[in-house]
């Protein structure tokens, strides 16, 4: 009887609802929701608040679905890394099938709701972003090439485009530039992180750039990507797509980013403990994106 009870607990205990929430990576979702909201608010039309809320909800649910499917596919990999070993699947708190059903269901629900409540262009871009993250990044690139972050970064670049499309029903130059900005921001952001958690990635056999090409090459690449990223950030101003509030903020923030990237470039450390510039760049890169998009919305609504 005791044995039977133990077996039930180990194999048939339903996952806690909090583990389903954890599967959606809520912390990553904040940035996705924020950039999506900014894309929506930067559009030259006003949207009904309920429809705007629905659009952001769909973007959040779509991102959550992609995160759940990513963890479903990568459960074996997550178990090998300290940073991810406590997630619901590698920790054994949820069975893989539940994660798969949850991810597929949530993704389909978010796309259908977006299509029915807003428009089908936004729904199509949302579907493309989920498939891009799951198939192109997770399944195809992540374990195969050190360029995983470069091409895979496209997945996280969709939210402003979706927000804009939800509000206007079309795609314009500004949201494409915002897509490009996040696309070019992703490599320096993730490579800064992967420099100081390199041993984790190496242990799991993920071919991140610092693991495959070493810290020196990674630092060069961080600096190289910072330049076009800064240009993409500033470009809406000279093109007349935004005003001086955004323009000045983009220039100032990009210069700080460049300064921190140069400090990373000059650092020779190979131990995580001595990688303060990398940690600072990683932390600032998150603030950078929040501030840039915040400035865009401020610019749109104040002028």
């Amino acid at each position: 009887m005791y044995m039977a009870s133990v077996t039930i607990k180990a194999e048939a205990l339903p996952a806690d609802w909090r583990d389903f929430v954890a599967l959606t990576k809520p912390r990553v979702m904040t940035l996705v929701v924020f950039t999506g909201l900014c894309g929506l608010l930067a559009a030259p039309v006003t949207i009904h608040p309920v429809l705007g809320f629905t659009a952001i909800l769909c973007i959040a649910l779509g991102a959550g679905a992609a995160a759940a499917l990513n963890q479903w596919y990568e459960a074996d990999l997550d178990a090998l890394m300290k940073r991810t070993a406590a997630r619901p699947l590698p920790a054994g708190r949820m069975d893989k099938q539940s994660a798969l059903h949850f991810g597929v269901g949530l993704g389909a629900f978010s796309v259908l709701l977006m299509g029915l409540a807003l428009n089908w262009l936004a729904a199509a871009i949302l579907a493309a972003s989920i498939l891009y993250y799951v198939i192109i990044y997770t399944v195809w690139l992540k374990r195969r090439t050190p360029q995983n972050i470069v091409i895979g970064g496209g997945a996280g670049s969709f939210p402003p485009l979706i927000g804009w499309a939800a509000a206007t029903g079309n795609v314009a130059v500004l949201p494409v530039l915002l897509f490009l900005l996040i696309f070019l921001w992703t490599p320096p952001h993730f490579w800064a992180l992967s420099l100081f958690v390199r041993t984790d990635y190496a242990a799991a056999g993920v071919p991140m750039l610092p693991v495959v090409a070493g810290p020196k090459t990674t630092r060069n690449q961080i600096l190289l990507y910072t330049i076009p990223m800064g240009i993409a950030a500033v470009l809406p101003w000279p093109l007349g797509l935004s005003g001086p509030i955004y323009g000045i903020a983009a220039v100032a923030l990009s210069l700080v980013f460049l300064f921190l990237a140069i400090r990373v470039y000059r650092n020779d450390a190979t131990e995580a403990a001595a990688m303060r510039p990398e940690k600072k760049l990683f932390a600032f890169s998150v603030i950078y994106l929040f501030a840039i998009f915040g400035a865009l919305v401020l610019d749109r609504w104040m002028i």
């Binding site: 039977a4 009870s5 039930i8 607990k9 048939a12 205990l13 339903p14 996952a15 806690d16 609802w17 009904h48 608040p49 309920v50 429809l51 629905t54 909800l57 409540a117």
Partner: protein, 44 residues
Amino acid sequence: MTPNDPIDPEIRKRQKSRALVMALALGAFVLLLYGISIAKMALA
């Protein structure tokens, strides 16, 4: 497990909390659909 076996209290607790969260989510969805319908009618 046969139909006469008592269900493990831990399983029952999990099922109850999941059912509660699902009920709240469905309730919120109904409210959202109502809101979307009103918004669409207002725009039309």
